[in-house]
């Protein structure tokens, strides 16, 4: 079996976001970038399935500018076999990304596509589900446990009420939650080896799909700031403030 795993380059989750004064977006110059955290879980799960012997090949794909290749290299360094970089210099909405991934799926013919459940930059939570719909495949979102069977996947999903177990036939799309696994770190020898693994290049606009953005970003602004609070000396002062000042208890 074969897995295609999608990774996205985003502003590192530890970076304090700064909104541009002109309202056009957020600062990305000289800002640390890394792989979208749940995408790391998607890579880890793919590699684990390969190590279990059930999966023969893991192909990592990213869509973005040249530097996005770093995310594919990282996937290769932890065990993916080869990479695909679909090049674009502009922002593409999840709908367009899903269309591009569909093209890659048609070419690669994987049995499963793994993705992170959500990107921490635009927080859309759409791509995996859209890809599944376009392929007419079943999906498992928010996956926190993946059990690969002969022709299906049994998956535990994290839902608002607790946990849900589903079984979906292959081929299928799986979006991964942060609790699915503990992504490993790449060892230095594996980072060196990964440099020799092939990364195929494609150009997004040459794939013959409509990737025009339909949602126009009018402005980006800072959220309203909270007024600075106070420190209380002890528990009884806290309770008195909550009762008499804030009137919430």
């Amino acid at each position: 079996m074969k897995i295609l795993v999608a990774v996205k380059r985003v502003i590192d989750y530890n970076v304090q976001i700064r909104v541009k004064d002109d309202g056009s977006g957020v600062h990305t110059e000289n800002v640390k970038m890394s792989t979208n955290p749940p995408d790391d879980n998607a890579v880890e799960e793919s590699v684990k399935l390969k190590e279990s012997g059930k999966v023969k090949e893991v192909v990592a794909v990213t869509i973005g500018e040249d530097k996005a290749q770093e995310t594919v290299r990282k996937a290769l360094a932890v065990g993916a076999d080869r990479g695909i970089h679909v090049k674009t210099n502009s922002y593409i909405e999840p709908l367009g990304i899903a269309k591009i991934l569909k093209k890659v799926v048609e070419k690669e013919k994987p049995d499963m596509v793994f993705l992170g459940k959500q990107a921490i930059d635009d927080d859309c939570n759409q791509t995996g589900q859209m890809l599944a719909a376009m392929l007419n495949w079943p999906q498992a979102t928010f996956s926190s446990k993946v059990d690969l069977k002969d022709k299906s996947l049994e998956i535990i999903r994290e839902i608002d009420e607790g946990l849900e177990t589903i079984e979906i036939n292959l081929p299928a799309v799986v979006t991964c939650d942060l609790r699915l696994n503990e992504p490993r770190y790449a060892s230095l020898p594996n980072i060196m080896k990964a440099k020799k693994k092939p990364i195929d290049q494609m150009i997004a606009k040459d794939l013959g799909v409509d990737i025009t953005n339909r949602v126009q970003q009018l402005k980006v602004e800072e959220p309203p700031k909270r007024k600075a609070g106070i420190k209380v000396a002890n528990v009884s002062e806290l309770v008195s403030k909550l009762k008499n000042e804030a009137k919430v208890i």
């Binding site: 989750y13 749940p38 126009q216």
Partner: protein, 317 residues
């Protein structure tokens, strides 16, 4: 043109967040129609019809929709979306699961997690874990929108009498199967809608120590939340997680205990009206957004807090 909202329910009762989404839908267009797809879900369709803001209910009852499998639900929504300009659902694990499938089928770019409706095509949504707000305009003819429920008041539940139209189910693909759902049962209020929330983080050090949190929750009639660190460490189940990839809560009072305040956690609670932080590390980022900060050892402060609350002798409902 009218809006079509997809109701979330458990085949017996409407889930409360649907009422918040109805409020948001009514700000887009007054002609709000609600699709109830379920199995043995007659009561839900009646409950929705009684909501005054709802003008019409489309009710599809079939075993295919018993467990809201997105592979089954999305084709139904897609089919009945024809007459509508907007398709709407809550931005929770229910709406997030099926709506992008509808959007893909309609070749529409979905607008996720809307916190404000400026006009029928212009919305405000948080990005970067709520560290920026984007105002976006959808240029698609048909718009798929998910609503952050806590950003809108729930619609009044009674007094209306919308017409209920029975609609036919559509063919389902039969490639996904529901097996089971393990819901965390609790006597406490629901995390998403509770007036008071008390959350614990890694500072609690164990699942057993959450008893300190639970005792106060019982006293304040509060819901119990947690940081991702506490859930990852296995102290408490995932449905308690507050944050960017967990639940977003906007209670009147949010008490963060032993939580340092990573931006991913703040994303889920910083709109709360009053925030209290109890942490032994005076430099913890949580203090920068807390209205009242108490720098203290939680293992001393929490029992003391409980006894002070008991002295007040008020029953919180």
């Amino acid at each position: 043109m009218s809006v079509l909202l997809i109701a979330e329910h458990n085949n017996k009762n409407l889930k409360p967040f649907t009422l918040n989404a109805i409020t948001a839908a009514s700000k887009i267009d007054g002609d709000v129609h609600v699709l109830v797809a379920g199995s043995g879900s007659e009561d839900v369709s009646k409950e929705v019809a009684a909501v005054p803001l709802v003008k019409k209910v489309l009710h599809c009852d079939s075993p295919n929709y018993q467990n809201y499998l997105p592979e089954n639900l999305a084709p139904l929504v897609t089919k009945y979306s024809e007459k509508y300009d907007h398709i709407i659902a809550s931005a929770n694990t229910f709406g997030k699961n099926f709506m992008p499938r509808v959007a893909a089928a309609l070749d529409t770019s979905q607008v996720s997690d809307v916190i404000k409706v400026n006009s029928p095509d212009t919305f405000v949504r948080p990005i970067y874990a709520g560290n920026a707000f984007a105002t976006v305009k959808s240029n698609d003819k048909k718009k798929c929108v998910t609503i952050r429920p806590t950003s809108f008041e729930p619609a009044p539940k009674t007094g209306g009498s919308a017409q209920v139209e029975k609609i036919d189910s559509v063919e389902v693909p039969n490639f996904s199967k529901f097996i089971k759902r393990e819901e965390t049962k609790s006597e406490r209020p629901e995390l998403g809608t509770a007036r008071v929330v008390i959350s614990g983080g890694r500072g609690l050090e164990s699942g057993e120590n959450f008893k300190l949190i639970n005792d106060i929750a019982d006293k304040l009639n509060a819901a119990v939340g947690a940081s991702r660190a506490a859930v990852d460490a296995g102290y408490i189940s995932n449905d308690h997680q507050v944050g960017q990839t967990g639940k977003v809560v906007v209670p009147d009072l949010y008490i963060a205990v032993g939580i340092s305040g990573a931006i991913q956690h703040l994303a889920g609670m910083k709109e709360s009206k009053i925030i209290v932080a109890i942490n032994k590390d005076g430099e913890a980022p949580i203090f920068s957004i807390a209205d009242y900060g108490l720098e203290a050892d939680l293992f001393k402060a929490l029992p003391e807090f409980l006894s002070e609350l008991n002295k007040l002798n008020t029953i919180q409902k």
